[in-house]
Structures are given as C-alpha cells and as structure tokens.
Amino acid sequence: MNAKNPSIDLNNRGTLTEDAGLSTAPVPLEPYRSASFYAQEVDRVFKRAWLLMARVEELPEIGSYIVKDIPPCKVSVLITRSKNDKIQAFYNTCSHRGSKLTTENQGKKGRFVCPYHQWTYSNEGDLIGIPDQANFFDVDKKKCGLTPIATDTWEGWIFVNLQPQPEVTLERFLGPMKDYMANFKYPGADNPVVFKAKLDANWKVVSDAFIETYHIPCIHPQTIGTTFSSKLNPHARLLDARTLGPHQAVSMFGNADYTLDPKNKAEMLGHSGGEAGSVIAAANKEKAAEFIAHPAVNPTSSSYWSMDVNLIFPHIHIDCGPGGFWTHYFWPLSPNTSLYQGRFYMEPATTIRGRFLQEMYISRVADVILEDLVNVARTQEGIDTGGKQFMQLQDSEFGIRHSTTQIIKWVESDTVEDALS
C-alpha cells in the first residue's frame, strides 16, 4: 500500500466480474448439495490439488512435528522437520498392520513408535526398529518406511499433494499467485489464536460467506457492520477483485469514518492513549505497518480499505487487514457438513492494554463466526430443498463465482494441466 487514494466511486466503473472475463450468468447450486458431485470433488479436487496445510512456524525446530487431517480424503498427515531441516509429510500410518502411528497433534520427537506393536520410525520416515524381527519372513526394513506425501513450501506455507507423483509442481499450481503474494512479512506468524467449528453446510457455502461483503450490513450489523459499510457505500461493494489462475484476490471496502462508539466503553478503554481503528485489527502497529506496505495488501491503495481475501485454491483464505493476517480453512466432511478452522495471527502483547484489545478482538471474532455459523446452516437448508437450481450473483459476489467455476472446471478436467489451462 503506497500513497493512499482518497477518491471512491464504485458506481461509475466497469464491473469487476466482466473486467476479469468471468461469465455473468447464474451459477448452478447442484455442486452445493449433490452426493455425486461431492465424490468427484474429493477425487478430482482434493486428491489432485496442492493443499495448503500449515505454516512453517508450526515446526519451529529440528525434530518438531505436527499432525493434520485432510478430512475429505480421510488422510491423517504427519509432517516432520528432520535433521537436515527438511520438512516432509508422511501418511500417519504404520507399515506393519496399517495402524495410525501417532495420536498426538504436535510435539518434538526424533522417532515415532507405533502404539500397536512398537514398530519404530525416524522423523525422516525410515523404519528403524521391529520388535522380534527374527519371527518375521524376510521383511525388508528399507522398503517399510513411512509412505511419504509430496510436500513443498512457498512463503512459509506448507503444501502437500496426495497424488503419488503430482501432475504439476507447486510452482505451476500457484501460477500468478506465486509472485503476487511473494515476500509477505507475516506478523505474529508463530502466535495464532485458533478457532474450530463443525458446520452444517457444504464447505463452499462457508467459504462463499467469507469472501463477499454484500451480506455484512445484514448479518453482522452489531459486530462488524459499521466497519465494512457506510453511507458512501451502503451495500459494501468491493474495491477490487482479480483472478490469479484458480486462486484469487478480493479487496474489501472499509469505513474510513468508523470511530469508536462512546457507548462501547470497554473498547474505549483499550484504545485510551492509542489511536482508533477497525475492530478487525489485531494490534501491534509497527509490524503491521511493514506488512501493509506490500503492494498486494490493499492493492488499490484505497483510503477506504478494510481487508483483503486471498483465496488459495481450493479451500484456504489468507486474509489481510490493517492489523495483520488471518487464515480460514474450509474442509469438506460431507455434501452438507464441513469443518472450519480459523487462525488469527497476532504478536504476543507487550502491555496489558494491548492484551486487553486482543481479548476484545477474540471475543468479537467468536461472535462473528457464530453469526456466520447460523447463517450458513440456514443457507444449506434452503439449498437442500432442491427448489432452486441456480444462484443469482452480483458483482460483489465475484469471489463465489470464480471459486465455484474453478471447482467445476477441476471436476470436469481429465488432467490437472487441463484444469489449470
């Protein structure tokens, strides 16, 4: 974000949708409820795409490990940082009888011992111990290591790919997103506040709810409504949106006139001596200033900016705001349920007032998630009736149109290269 652009005229411009070359036709609802579409989505999207799983800060030192699930594919992934500082993912599955190897979610270990019969593996995946090996029949230890999963990193984000030989590299998969978000200085990357929720909605219904602002004055009037809309832009039209291969970046309007409401006395207390600001910022001005200096943060350099959603296909949002960044993971569980995880990154507070503002932020985030949780369940109920075949999308719902179009394209493409072309 460089010189701020104080002008705003969202009425007299071309549409973002048409400028990006997207269709303006209604978008089908069948992908949001169909069991057969869901099965194809699992096979052709989640088993073929590179999937963002974690940040490297979750593996802070040699020997660190984390376990993450890919729920739609029923895969538990063990990710280790081994002695050559190599980050590698494995199926969390013992080579002996296929038992789940570790049931802990994170820690530090040089070796992993299967609880069933104590087969033992190094954190490089090698099988190093079989109790009573003499009683087996020529078992070849070298062939019985943990099964690796293709792993790569980009800008501190760890990706895996469930294809035994991925059809495309991570670089090819990221396409223009690779450079667009290069060299981000993510503040507080080692200190996320983490929320999890099981939602009664297709994962795309949830992702869609987090990528458009058209709903904000309606669904979040108390919690964040005044941050995103004002008389200048009462329906919270988008500042900008662009496709980046299957990925995309959406920049949202913010109410520059937003000031602390004196009736919000607790919030006033947190800000006393400091400056006012958006309720979706997580504090620490210095690190935040460095972060928002990046050209892909507030890409139109608008004075009326609240946040950006950067969607990493298929199921991750990396969101940027004036106070830093946060991520949403939307994992499919079934055609109409999903697992949500939100990770809100913040520098550990150095003063109690800073910590107080973080607590304020956390309580507000929890209520916003709760508002969305109720809303997405209601949306899914409506979709599941089968009464409607299409949704009507307006220009501010650009993000929904692009992501659904891309999902359908991946489902219909025989190769990943076709899907990306």
Binding site: F195, K265, A266, S272, A349, R353, I362, S363, L373
Partner: protein, 118 residues
C-alpha cells in the same frame, strides 16, 4: 485456585472486586467465553458495573510488572480485567449474555489463545 483467607487475592485498592474472583478469574480466553455464555445478564451486568470504573487504573498498575512474570495478586487482577471484553460484548453490543438468535452450545471451540492468560 485455593482461596486463603489470610492472603489477599487482589492488590490494595481493589478489595471491591474480591467477590468476583471465584467466578470471573479464568486462565484462558476459552473459559472466559464459556463463563459469559453460561451466566445470567444480572451476573454479567453486576460484574461489568463493578470493574468498568476500575479497569483503567488497574491496567496502569498491571503495566508496572513484566507481562510474562506477574506477582500472584497482579496476575489475578489481570485475569479479572481480561474478563471485561467478554462481558462488554453482552452489555454493550447484545443486551443479553449471548449473541441473539444463535444456539448454545454452538460447537465453536477456541483451541489456542494468546499469552498471557489466553
């Protein structure tokens, strides 16, 4: 926490808040969230009314100590102050303990907070 009658839970000047310690002093944000969600509006309002006028001075006092190494009475006061944002959501935004028109329990889990006392 064991409550010992001979030691004071809170620093001098904050005796008026002692009666709120058992209910509102929590170690994590998740527990604070649950406490607000399962309290009556009268309980929330009484605590809010008591702590709001003292919170500014309390934060000035707490800031005299390292944020990661507070004496027990200061840490206790700190946890009490950190309960204010939660109850403020109820008092200042919703006018009721929980977000209107939402279920409880709601299935949202706070898995990890931020230090201290997150």
């Amino acid at each position: 926490m064991t409550i010992n009658a001979t030691t004071k839970l809170l620093p001098e000047g904050y005796e008026a808040l002692e009666s709120f310690v058992p209910k509102w002093v929590k170690d994590t944000s998740a527990e604070r969230m649950t406490e607000r969600a399962t309290s009556t509006m009268a309980e929330i309002q009484t605590f809010y009314n008591a702590i709001l006028p003292l919170a500014d001075d309390a934060m000035a006092l707490i800031d005299n100590y390292p944020i990661d190494d507070m004496p027990d009475d200061i840490a206790c006061l700190c946890k009490l102050v950190l309960a204010l944002p939660q109850v403020a959501m109820a008092v200042e935004l919703h006018g009721q303990p929980r977000l209107p028109n939402t279920p409880y329990p709601h299935g949202i889990e706070l898995l990890r907070g931020t230090p201290p006392f997150g």
